[in-house]
Symmetry: C2
Subunit: 320 residues, 2 copies
């Protein structure tokens, strides 16, 4: 089994075991059932895997970083519960979102409790790392909220610059990947240089990952992504594809939408390819991926980075 | 100036000063403005004052507990933002609630960020107390969520027992008062015995405080409380008055409501007085206050508890 599958299994076994322990069986169950539900829905488990990989990169057993792995996955799922409310999303990973399966109040409150549970897991780390872990985690948690706020504000603004978009996805998505690695490194005794390089690796990989997500939404297949392809375009979401194309082809998107054709998405996708937007966005994705790899290279003499390199390649090549 | 007013001023000055510092001027402002708004709305500031008083009780300067004081007040205000959404409340301290002044999404997200800001303030405490502080805070934060969940669930249940009600208000309100004192004690080097006694003092005072709130809602005057007197009764809220009266006078409340009189509240209040419910509830309030005072007595030889005793008396006597 490769590192990726081995560590995912390790994380999932620990998650499963945790569900039968007192921590996850507090009362009232109405508060905890929605948390177990969303944590059990699946997903790629990128964040906990990165935390565990960072520990192994520092030559430690992955188990040393379990508190951190659970913390980042809990935080991520807290943000999903609340984001789904804000986005009025009904489906998450093929199942009903928490506020759909229960109700708005349950979504708000179980999300709040899951955020506390993320800190609770962090508090099970050795005392000597507390201060550093908490500072990294707090900073990241605020940035994620800031990213979500920007994302919502962008809906009401017409002209988003590429730089603003990159800043938004950095905060909303990428910093948590960086933080997962950084905390996994801190707790396994990594030096400041190593922990920071791993953080930068995660952030750059995260930006590349999010741009990839936008491309897959537009050009992927429903079969592999499990999403309605072109949904972002129909919702006029300001992804990098949209921003770049709009800037270089003023008025074009409006005129295609105005044409009320039944193949709006297909037309826009063709135009994006013809005009070079698709290539540009792919190039930007590659740039951030290359930056990530450079960060790994900086520490390859003191760390075992091969598993992280494979992981990054897997992320880069993914079709879903 | 007495301790209470002096420490409130000390806390408020620190709050005000903080608003002009980088921590409170992050971007995007849409995320931070609602947080500054609710923190600036006023209130009795019971929790931060208790944290500061605990430090002074241990013979330290109050400033030593400022990180903790800000943390508990931020947490309290996070819970107010989200509770107001869940309760569909429009007014808080005479001003619009956050979700009314902005919108639902802003309420959810700025509340989330304020919870993180509570942990951020905690992280400014000395490293050696981190572990203990975080454990106390996490446990309390979860219990507050559990209390809110119970409160919501009670709306759908007819027969709430007195014990269930006390458990709910303990979690929803009282433990945060206990935690404020406990953390103020921990950070000022208080022994485990002192910190726990102060915690118990806060919890018992908090239960007494909440029962008092219920009585004031029914029997207070709009002028002093700023609330619509009898609102709980009209909303058929299961306070201790309601629970005790219903149990001892089965069917009575329904028959008064069915009478469709224009003086339902007055009728119910008279019945509650005549039947002994009012006296019973006052007695319960006094019991918990006495328990609180007993906890203080346990540590009066090693701590300076007089300011806390005065504070408790002020809480007990309040008319608002």
């Amino acid at each position: 089994m490769n590192s990726l599958d081995r560590l995912r299994k390790f994380y999932l076994d620990s998650l499963e075991q945790g569900f039968s322990e007192p921590e996850w069986n507090r009362h009232p169950d109405e508060l905890y059932a929605p948390q177990r539900y969303i944590l059990g829905l699946g997903g790629k488990r990128i964040r906990p895997i990165l935390a565990l990989m960072a520990a192994e990169a520092n030559g430690c057993d992955a188990s040393i970083a379990l508190s951190v792995a659970h913390s980042v996955e809990r935080f991520h799922n807290f943000s999903l519960i609340h984001d789904d409310i804000m986005d009025k999303a009904k489906i998450r990973r093929g199942k009903k979102t928490v506020h759909e399966n229960w109700d708005l109040n349950t979504g708000i409150l179980s999300g709040d409790a899951l955020l506390v549970m993320a800190y609770k897991s962090l508090s099970q780390s050795p005392d000597k790392y507390f201060s550093e872990l908490l500072k990294s985690f707090n900073q990241t948690a605020l940035e994620v909220c800031e990213g979500q706020q920007m994302d919502m504000s962008f809906e009401k603004i017409d002209n988003i610059e590429e730089g603003q978009y990159l800043h938004m996805i950095r905060n909303k998505t990428a910093v948590l990947l960086g933080c997962s690695l950084e905390m996994g490194s801190i707790i396994s005794g990594g030096s400041k240089v190593v922990s920071r390089a791993l953080y930068n690796f995660g952030v750059e990989l995260g930006i590349s990952f999010q741009i990839h997500d936008d491309i897959l939404d537009a050009y992927g297949s429903t079969k592999t992504t499990g999403k309605n392809v072109g949904a972002d375009i129909l919702a006029k979401k300001k992804t990098l594809l949209w921003i770049h194309f709009s800037k270089n082809n003023p008025g074009k998107l409006d005129s295609i939408f105005d044409s009320q054709s039944i193949e709006i998405v297909q037309k826009i996708l063709s135009e994006m390819e013809l005009s070079g937007t698709f290539d540009y966005v792919q190039k930007r994705r590659r740039n951030h991926f290359d930056n990530a790899m450079k960060s790994l290279k900086e520490i390859e003499e003191v760390c075992e980075v091969s598993a992280l390199r494979n992981f990054a390649n897997w992320i880069f090549e993914r079709k879903f």
